[in-house]
């Protein structure tokens, strides 16, 4: 039986519902007390940028959706290599995120019972 879940967010915010949907799924698991982690990777790292303006496209904020996870001790990781590849410096990220190398991503995959990708 699964006691933990890793949610991979691989899509950029807005335009697609994927990232927001992944964050909401993580919240649903976290509020029930399941060990839940989120890893933003590939284009999903764009969800970590602090200067998002979702109001410009009348979309709910992925920053708010991410920060709601903090209330339930759901850690949100961002893959360093994918930030670097896209030219996003860590100084552009909003607070509370944990930037990790790919080696940590591999550990996260091992540490969780099930994984789902958005």
């Amino acid at each position: 039986m699964a006691g933990s879940i890793l949610v991979l967010v691989t899509k950029a915010p807005y335009g697609l519902e994927e990232a927001f949907a992944g964050l909401r799924l993580a919240l649903a698991m976290g509020v029930n007390g399941m060990k839940t982690s989120v890893l933003m990777m590939e284009d999903g790292v764009f969800n970590s940028v602090a200067t998002q303006r979702p109001e410009a496209v009348k979309m709910p904020s992925n920053i708010d959706a991410t920060k709601e996870l903090y209330d339930f001790d759901v850690p949100v990781y961002v893959l360093k290599e994918d930030l670097d590849a896209r030219g996003v410096p860590e100084s552009k990220l909003f607070e509370g995120l944990k930037v990790v190398p790919a080696t940590k991503a591999r550990e996260l995959l091992k540490e969780h019972d099930v994984v789902t990708t958005f």
Partner: protein, 119 residues
Amino acid sequence: MAKTLTILWRTGSMMAMDANVAAKLAKAALDKGYKVRMFGYGEGVTAVKKGQKPKRFPNVGDELEQIAKEGVTQAVCETCFAARGFERGEEISSAKVGSLTNDLFKFVSESDRLVTIAR
């Protein structure tokens, strides 16, 4: 003891065969002795719309109802369902209009494996 599989699908009833593949996978797992739960999220909820009439493609609603008779439990996200203008009662009889917090959490926590089918 039978292992349990949850299939999370997020693609709709038309334009892609993902929901049909999810139903096929569920049937295959069932035949191998798994307990199977399916959860439709995002566009995936459209696969449980009652009254689908595809002219040239397999009817995924019918497929889901058939495998439910064989023991597959199905639920979809209520928020996603309502967002697309569907109301309770518009779902096929085998699917529950439920929630991530209750139904999907229960499915996942009872499962040995989680498979995600999406684009």
